[in-house]
Symmetry: D3
Subunit: 244 residues, 6 copies
């Protein structure tokens, strides 16, 4: 498929998810001449930012630090629009307001492909609700009878791919597709490095990329050294023929 | 993906399976300048040919009629090599001999993609064992230490796509990919028509193709009128990026 | 089982669902001398009525048109009480108020059998929550300690059967029962025809009924020409013996 | 459904399975004026008869004791034809000969309903293969092109219901139907008592019948005191309407 | 593993759940010199207390009777702290307030192991949401950036074990562990007896304990006479080696 | 649990499986004063030894090299009895002879715990049948009525734990238990190094052990640096209480 000019939208629960889980695919999408936008739903100060709180920051300081680091990572990856929505983590609850807010974004952005969380994460329930949230917002965006200020009703559903949770098998995550990120691995490494106090987590996700490349090679991508695993929410249909 | 010169191998339990279940994809592969070979493992005289037996044919006459019709269908579809192996249906049992026979074919044919049955069909157990048979033969074909006369050891695994059984949901068949066969639907109709006494079955599979197009349109293939449903056995990896 | 005088309650998310998904069973229930009541939870103006909005109607006009058409369909099918609740689609959220409203209806109606949506529809999340909504309302209706004005506490659970979503396999829908609607197919056709701008959808559901008859014949209903597929939520127990 | 004159065929791996797992349904079928035939595939001397071997019997004596007890149980239950096939347990392997032997029986018996084992029993692999065996034999029996001495080719598939294995959940057994055996519980008790050295096992299956009645009552069979649990292999279709 | 001084926390939807589903494990934990605390989220007056309402009590009287009986049962079992939270059953909805209330309890209690409901109960939807509620509260409790009055931020996740719902297989409950309660069965019997009008339910759960012992013996606990079944939410990891 | 003097039996399809998949647990078992025996069913010359064939060895030379390396690895790990059975890989077929051969071994060895393959490996069907083979052999070993020369009839089932296949999620492998191998990681490294031409595979399994430690830490094993993942075939019952 040709991705020149195609828009990818990433919707992540917390700032770090964008980096650990899909920054390789983001960088590759830019390399393939596509455009990437990202919405980070919360600052993750409830839990993801534990290391900043432990280092003595206030919640407000942690938000500022995350903003700084994430903007830097966005620049490294080539994300054209990155928004931090401050919707409150721990616990992220789907509401009508939040749904319409994302639906509005979808109608304006018109993404061709969406990356977001898998529907289950037993050690991080916030992650598990995001897929429902995105899916519901797509439904609302598509409704011709639904008025949202500043938008024209209607939206063509984009295919959703879920990036992997921390403990894949325990969350029923089964990869249906591997993205080869060998060529852009340095960008992933650099992006992850912007979270300066999470070095060991960054190392473990580099190792994960190497493990996912073992899978990718098993299934025919012979020279892959680093990969990210994804699970498609919908069957393949737009292409119209076999892909493997 | 580019399919020019790529080899597709179909392995079907009975002659009719080739027509009802995947003749659209076969015709499309030829249209895309690929090559198609097909192995029909049995004559289906145990059960698939019931209508011929009921019409008064002997088992031997039924075999001849199936050969005649299938060759004609193969010509319509553009299959370059079509073999009828007479391995005995009802019941098809996996044996060492049969496994090596297919492994030999695989080493010589070197297919890039394989179409075969889904791993479960509660109303036709013969269908349900073919996937294991093909998978085992691929393993044997790939073994460097395994000698089969007339072949060089080694084989690069080809991705397998399963076509759909008669009662999809009751057999746990979940389509992961829809092939748009709108452009080649006439070839499928003509190929199915070679089985002259199975007109109502042919009609029901045309209807099925129309139903599968409803699915394909739902998932983004807007103008599809006829489709075939497939389930990939392996995750997507060779392509290296998102496909949908 | 004898259905004379037995009450069927249909709970559908949007007006059209009542027609595409279960109008055959509704008509047959009436034919079997049972009574049918139906609650349509929303007008579907968020999305199901897209074709009316596109044709230039306001949301209010669309609601009136749906009311008109649905009442006509209800008459064709012989529904004794049909209510349109206007509970807001896209997104349908379960609340205490809505739960008690349905619980009240249940206590008064005392249905013997309930038809509603399957618990998952990835392209229409509204559909996916209705089963939980109905189930929760049954629980509330059954509570002896729960006062709802105008009702006597208590309710005997009715068996729930889910009609099929748009893309069955992709939503994990597995039919456990086929209702033969051959004798009442004209009523289904006429009921669907009341939605005058949805002719192609009606055609596709007629085709679906034909496909479901293929399934029904496979499993022993020899002369079935049209069928609807359902998934039972509870195991069979009231009957006390084998049924097939 | 009306079971007068309807033939039930039970196919069990070992003699005791007939008693513990489905003797209630057998007795009820006779009570409903149906006919029951039973094939016990092996004497169970590999393992089921451990208590006889421990009591000092030879394998041959154990076979005779089982024959005696089982015939007595068959008389209590009203089984019209009971055959012990001596096909070797531990390990029961499906072969062409065995498949044709059962296919022949099926063509002559023409059962309307079949009871047999569930497809998985991790503590007794012999149980787990019987469903495949029965299913394969039905396929062979149905083949118009398959000659078996003394039979006319052809067979109309009968619905299969699986009785429950020893540890239901660990084997993926999910009941889809409960048979109320309250009225015939004494026959089940008496039949189980013919295995004189298995008193505690008989007691545990009586307790199981009481537990299954808890399930049956939950799902609407209000006065049930004893039940047996079954899982249907096929969806309900012959009946043509809802059953619950 | 050594349970001396280890804290078990039980979170149950209704008072009776604590008795029927896990009182054996509770009594055994005390016997092993551990400490048990229990939170009963609602009085169960919506439905569990139906027999009290039917006997003529008001809702308030039913609450008092449940408090009396449950305190008595808690004493029998040796529970060190038992709280009845009155959070409203039928329908139990997860809210921010309730989540923080439990999170606060968790931070103060610091349990080593948690027992609660399985995530699905089709006949009692209230049961099905408690696992999500507990899991979410653990997430909130663990967040270093989340202030809850009277607590120090942070919490080390405790392993969760789900006790069994009323109809195990119909709710997808698969036991992963059996607790042998033979030595403490009298305490379970006495605790259940405090609900004086639920004698037959108590009898059925005693029978269930006997059935679960059949399972436990099958899997190697030779002398077990009574057991309770549990499903672990997380894999075994703390122990660091095989357990069986 | 106490493992002093407890016997572990490993049954692996090919020589390398013993090293990549469970050598950490083997070394730890020895460290815990248990005894380990291992049966390697085939030399793996069909496929696992591809690198030796490519390096110019004959099949016979490859067998000798594997024997040499494996014996060395066995010494490093402290395996007390290691047998190479030469049962033919690619394709490994379960037969009566092979089943009785393993049953005989089981009766004599009397293992307390068994490690073997997971029941599915789509890229290596040989792996997928071993679990059935082991389970069947246990059944045969346990039969009091089954004579095998040189043995006393009877066998107490040992719990089975499956080590992980190459592509876990694609094969439905879900870890239920993590063994912490941090203390014995050097032995695993040294054992893997005996296969001198498989350095990169050894490196990838070291990386896998590090990834599995991420899982183990997530689930409460705080200081784990290397782990192996296992899936229990049976529920936990022997222990009689909670383990986590």
């Amino acid at each position: 498929m040709d991705f020149v000019g195609k828009k990818m939208l990433v919707v992540s629960a917390h700032p770090g998810d964008l980096l650990w889980r899909c920054s390789g695919a983001v960088a590759k999408h830019v390399q393939l001449c596509g455009e990437v936008q990202a919405i980070v739903l919360t600052y993750g100060v409830g839990g993801e930012a534990n290391e900043l709180i432990e280092a003595g920051m206030t919640v407000q300081e942690a938000k500022e630090e995350r903003t700084r680091a994430l903007k830097k990572a966005g620049d490294i990856l080539g994300i054209s629009n990155l928004e931090l929505w401050d919707l409150n983590d721990y616990r992220f609850e789907i509401t009508q307001d939040k749904t319409y807010k994302l639906a509005k974004y979808l109608r304006i952005c018109k993404p061709d492909i969406i990356l977001t969380h898998h529907g289950k994460d037993i050690l991080n329930p916030d992650h598990g609700v995001i897929l429902d949230y995105v899916n519901m917002a797509m439904e609302v965006a598509g409704g011709k009878g639904i008025e949202i200020e500043g938008t024209v009703p209607g939206f063509k559903r984009a295919p959703i791919f879920c990036f992997e949770p921390h403990n894949a098998e325990s969350n029923g995550f089964v990869p249906t597709l591997f993205v080869d990120i060998t060529d852009v691995i340095q960008k992933k490494i650099d992006a992850m490095a912007t979270f300066e106090l999470k070095k060991s987590l960054a190392a473990s996700y580099l190792e994960r990329a190497s493990y996912r490349a073992v899978n990718a090679r098993s299934f025919g991508r012979g020279k892959c050294k680093y990969a990210e695993a994804y699970a498609a929410v919908y069957p393949v249909a737009q292409d119209g023929y076999f892909v493997y």
